[in-house]
Structures are given as C-alpha cells and as structure tokens.
C-alpha cells in the first residue's frame, strides 16, 4: 500500500498495533485499548498480541477492534506452542537489555518478523522498546512506523539505549507520554529525521457522577510499591489528623509494601484515620467517595492515577516528581504540586485544601474541566493527526515525497543496524 494519496489522507487508515500481551492486565494494555477503540470509530484497527495466555482478554478491546495473537501459550489449547523447540531457544532479535527479553525466543522472532513482513497496514505502532526494535528491523517497505514509549528513556539501561539509538532511526516517529521524556529522547538519543512527539495516556470519562467535594476523605490508589512512597503520605497524614481529626485517608491497591505500611499506620496510631483498602476495580466509584486525591511517588512515567482522580472531580496533591505530574496538574489551579520527598509540604497542601471548602471545590471543578484533554477521543485525535502527517510525508522506507530522505535514511539505518548486528554477534547472537 505504501503512501496514501491525498484523496486517501482524509479517508480511513489501516492501523495495526503490536503489543506484548493484549490478554493480560496492565497500563499499556488499557491505554492501547482506549486508543484503539477511539481510532476504530473512523479507521480499521487491529491489535496484534505477541502472546496469548488466556481465551478472553481481561479488558474489553471494544467494538470494531480486531484482536489476534502470534504465539499461543494457553496450555489447554490445541494450538499450544509453549513446547515448540523454537519457543525454548533464546531470542536472537529481541534486545537482551529489554525487560521482557526472557519471554521472547526464536519462535517469537520468527512470528513477529513474518507478521511485519506482510502486515497490511498504513500505520504500524509498537508499544514497547523491544517491539519497536522489531518494527524497525522487520517491517516491509511502506507502512508508517511509530514506536511508543510507555516508560521513560532514563528507565532504560545504557545497553538498551544504545540499541534504540541504532535502530530507532528507521522509525518515522517515537511517541512518549510526557514532554519531559520527549525532550530526553531529542537530547539524549539524537534521532535525526525521526519525529519525537509527546502524546499523553488517555483516561475515559468515569462511569459515575463526579465527587461533590463534601466527603472528608483523601484518596490514593496504586501498587503498594516503594516508588509510590505511601510511607510519606501516611507520615504527612499524621500532621493532617493533628489539625483535622475529622478527615481520613483511604489507600487502594495491593503490593509488597503492605505489611510495612500497616506497621507504620499502627506505630503512628493512625488506625482510626488511615485505611489500606486493598485492590479495587473499577476505581472510579472509589475516587468519587473522596474530596482530594493524593500522589506522593518519587517517580511517575506518566501519572495515570492523577488523571483518573481529576476526571472524577478531585483536586490532586502530588509530588512534582519526574516525569508526569507537572505536566498534568496546573499548580494552584486544578491541584497542588509539592516538592518530592517532603512530608511537611504534602501535609501543608492537603490542609490548605481541607481547610478551605470553597478553594477545594473550585479546584475540583477545574480538575474536572482540565482533565477532559485526556479523554480517549482527544488523545486519539492527536494520534490521528500525527499518523496523517507522517503518512503525508511518506513512510520512512517508502513513499514518494519521502523517497530522497528515505534513501539517505535507509543507508544510515542499514549502517547503524549493522553496528547493532555487530554487537549482537559479539554477545553470541545474530541478527536476522
């Protein structure tokens, strides 16, 4: 298919997502489904899942979105491939330094390559670095190639970054979820000719009425992991209780830190004020019970829970940690940003909103309004524009308008790909 003619630019696009496992639970899966569902209103959209471990996906992909898999690892399935000899041999194409390397193998190498060599799509979107590398190396000439980064560049090892620097020049675009990370890609990787664009994750409108700001509850939600710094939030809440014992805190989620947090709550004597609620799904009705959201992480690639809380009408007090919170919250307008790691600052901001009903409600209304920009329709619109512009200039490795640039790009891509291949050879693998 290659380039789209001008008449086609306004028409339907065929968009194909490549994802690690569309049948599981996780932020990338949810956000990909949100995006795919919205794009499917006007385009042909398919999601290709490298793995399939269960019969039905946990989340609903949505009407009009086709879902298929490349490798079947359902043990009770007649087409189970988990014992295929190729499945048991290490991958030679997937980057070793990628977090999911161990799950990839010769069978996935082959299936992904076959899929990408024959993919019938105008736009192919990869959803993690290892798959973006596959996109760069295996896709037939023609489609526009977009690599999504759902984490951040600085979360990757030096080795993975080197692989990405070598192979990403063959992509048409790399998308990040924050401007801060887009800037890191522009400065840190130098990918000439590759468009780097920040497109935030989307959060749908909640299925409940927004909070009215009258409940005396602060709500937090997320994995009980160290990086979320719930210990900081609990310590801050001790100061809140000293001033306003009529307010309480609910923390939703499960995780490794649970026992430690429980012990902290007991040690501080906060067991009448701070509750570990366990996991909740869906979360929207739980946000709606609160009047203030709290996020005290030391790191947030994006900050999905901030947006979720705002979409339920809660002003959020968040640490201004890398990367997302500062791009989501307008400090003092629809929430409060405080320095990371500072319990006094968290307590101060919470009390500011607790002690001023009018301010809290005003910020809650602003949060509701300002978070509409994360609606799947808005985010899909940004992707749609990006896809059309990329298609108009021609896919990196095909297309009329892009041909001149493309030949340069391709030879460089081949050269850099060669460097990647040389290193792969050194580590005992080879490139396809």
């Amino acid at each position: 298919m290659g380039t789209l003619r001008d008449s086609e630019l306004r028409g339907r696009m065929h968009i194909s997502f490549l994802i690690h496992n569309a049948y599981g639970i996780g932020g990338t899966i949810r956000t990909t489904y949100n995006l795919a569902r919205s794009l499917a209103d006007h385009h042909d959209v398919e999601i290709v899942s490298v793995f399939r471990h269960r019969d039905t996906p946990v989340f609903e992909p949505g009407p009009g979105v086709r879902l298929r898999h490349l490798v079947d690892i359902r043990k009770d399935s007649p087409s189970y491939e988990g014992e295929d000899p190729a499945y048991l041999r290490r991958s030679k194409a997937f980057p070793v330094a990628e977090g999911r390397y161990k799950q990839y193998n010769e069978l996935t190498d082959r299936r992904i390559a076959e899929h990408l060599r024959s993919v019938e799509a105008d736009i192919v979107v990869g959803t993690r670095p290892g798959l973006n590398v596959h996109l760069a190396r295996d896709t037939r000439r023609g489609p526009v190639l977009v690599g999504q980064e759902h984490l951040t560049l600085d979360s990757h090892s030096t080795r993975l970054r080197r692989d990405l620097r070598d192979l990403y020049p063959r992509l048409d675009a790399v998308t990040t979820v924050t401007e801060a990370d887009a800037e890191a890609y522009r400065r840190g990787l130098r990918l000439p000719g590759v468009r780097i664009e920040a497109v935030p994750n989307s959060v749908p409108e909640p299925g409940v009425e927004p909070a009215d700001g009258t409940g005396k509850w602060v709500v937090a939600a997320g994995r009980l992991a160290r990086v979320k710094r719930y210990d900081l939030l609990i310590k801050a809440f001790q100061q809140v209780v000293a001033d306003r014992p009529d307010w309480r805190l609910r923390i939703y989620g499960g995780g490794a830190e649970k026992d430690k947090l429980r012990a902290l709550i007991d040690r501080l004597g906060l067991y009448n004020h701070v509750y570990l609620m366990g996991p909740a799904n869906p979360l929207d009705p739980e946000w709606a019970k609160g009047s203030i959201g709290a996020v005290t992480s030391s790191l947030e690639s994006f900050g999905m829970t901030i947006v979720e809380a705002m979409r339920c009408g809660l002003p959020v007090v968040a640490t201004d940690c890398p990367h997302g919170p500062g791009e989501i919250i307008a400090n003092g307008v629809d929430g409060r940003l405080v320095p990371p790691g500072n319990a006094d600052a968290v307590a101060g901001a919470l009390l500011e909103l607790i002690n001023d009903d009018a301010l809290r409600r005003q910020m809650g209304r602003a949060a509701l309004k300002d978070s509409a920009r994360f609606d799947p329709s808005q985010v899909a619109g940004r992707y749609e524009t990006l896809f059309r512009e990329l298609a108009a200039r021609g896919g990196t490795r095909g297309g009329l308008r892009g041909r001149l640039r493309t030949s340069v790009q391709r030879s460089r891509g081949a050269l850099l790909g060669g460097a990647y291949a040389a290193r792969a050879a050194l580590r005992g693998g080879h490139t396809a």
Partner: protein
Amino acid sequence: MTTSADLPLRGAAAPSVSGVITGEPGAPSEPPRADCVADSAGGLTFDVVPPGRPGAAEAWDAALLLRRRGGRGAPADELRLPLVPAGDGRLRAALPSTVALPEGRWDAFAVSAGGEPERIMPGINDLRSLLDRRPDPERGSVAVRIPYVTKNGNLSVRSWLRAPHAEAGEIHVTEESVSVRGRTFGRAAGPDAVVEARRRGDPETVRTAPVTGEGTRFTFSLSYPELAGPWQGGSEAWDLWLRPAADADAVRIGRLLDDVAEKKHIFTYPSQPLTAPNGPVRVGPYYTLDNDLSVRVAEDRSQDAAE
C-alpha cells in the same frame, strides 16, 4: 413492594431456554451485569445490562432475584424484584429501604420468563452515600445493605438488620486495654449499662465493664489481663455485647454504617503482647466476618521465637 412471598417461585427449577438466556448456539455466553447505586436511606437501585444481544432486553420479562446464601429455598430466603425498562436497553430493579432484607449474604440473579436464574456480574457500585452514614438515632433500628463482589467475581448483597443497634466508632488500644467509642440506635446506654465480653464457645465465661453513656453516645474500656486470664491456648475470641440497662437485652456491637462490606482486613488494630497465666499471648480487637466487634487472645508466636 412485591416480595418473594407474594410470587410463585417460577424459574428456579425450570429448564434453561436456549436463545433467551444463553444466546445463539456457539455464541459466547456473556452473563448479565448490573450497576448498583445506594441511597443514604439504605435503598439500592440495580441497573442491569442484559447479555449483549439484540433484542435481549425485550426478551427479558424479567426479575432480579436475591437468594440468601445458605438458605434452604424457603420463601423467606428469596426476594424477587421486578426489572423494568430504564432506557438504553437497561433494566432497573429497586430495593427500597422499606423492604426488609433479613441479615445475611444475598446472591443476585437475573431471571427471565421461563429461564433459569443467571448469576449477575458486578458493574459499577456507586456507594458514596453509604460513607459516613448517620441514620436517625431515634429510629429503633438500623438496616444496612452493601453490594459487594464475591471471590468468584459475582454480585452479592450483604445485609444487616439490627433493632436496636450498637455501632462501634473509634477504637484506641493501649498496652493493657482497648477502649471503644460508639453510638446506640434504639436504646441508649443508661446509668447501669455494661459491656459484656463473652468468651466464644464458653457461654458461662463473661467479663463485664462499665459503659459511660451520654445521649446516644457510649464509651467503654476493657482490660486485656481479664480477657487473657482464662486463655488455654491457640486463638480465642471474646464477642462484645452492649447491655444498655440491667433489664434490657444485650446488643451485639458492630460496625455497619459505611460502604465496606467486609471490615476484617481493612479495619485492623494493633495487638499487644501480654503474659497470660498460661503463656505469652497477643491481645487485640478485630472485626469478625459479620463486621461485629470481638477481641482475640492468641498465642504469641513472636515471643516463642525470641525465647
């Protein structure tokens, strides 16, 4: 309002009618799903999304059936609420606060004419009006219904019906005691009110402590050494009852007035190490699976390990 007692229990034993409930042959059978909204008076509204097939809503000459778990199929163990079209292809059933729902766990089913009851999956439970509920203390009873998701992922409703009721609030533990603040609904704690700690499985053994009442509020303190005294080994429970006056029936103390169907693992309190006559124990308050307040005296394994 119609209750099961007024309606024949059709459907329960009737054969499944394919195409109505289970859909086209070969089509994946998607169970009905219900969103649930609670009002502050204790009423519930269920919005049922019938299985996603064209015409499914029309085919649903339907009812929402609540069946008490552990019941024996007696009329009192079933409550049938009519499902009426609510637009958007949804069907609505209401369980007003005025309809009594005996205490227990009630599994929710959708029933269509001639169809077999089909377990309902939970959608969105909007329970915000249950939070910090303050029913009128002058009313002699408290009715609480909390929709929740079972371990198997189905929708059920937990119901409590207490007349009168003693609601536990803040709990404070010290090294040797637990003190509880609460509110009464129905009969207030009088000058001779006491709290009774009843040793579970041993009705003869009761420890009492005075209760201070002020209007509908009450407070009491229980001494841990008293409860640890008779400890024989393993884990023992003492159930807490409020006796508002010498001539009044005792009322089980519980915590019911919010949106948390199962408090046991959420409302938790520190336990204290103590040396009982029969060895080291840990003592602390906890909520039972019925959200009633008890005190546990259990062998202290950490001290064992330290010795």
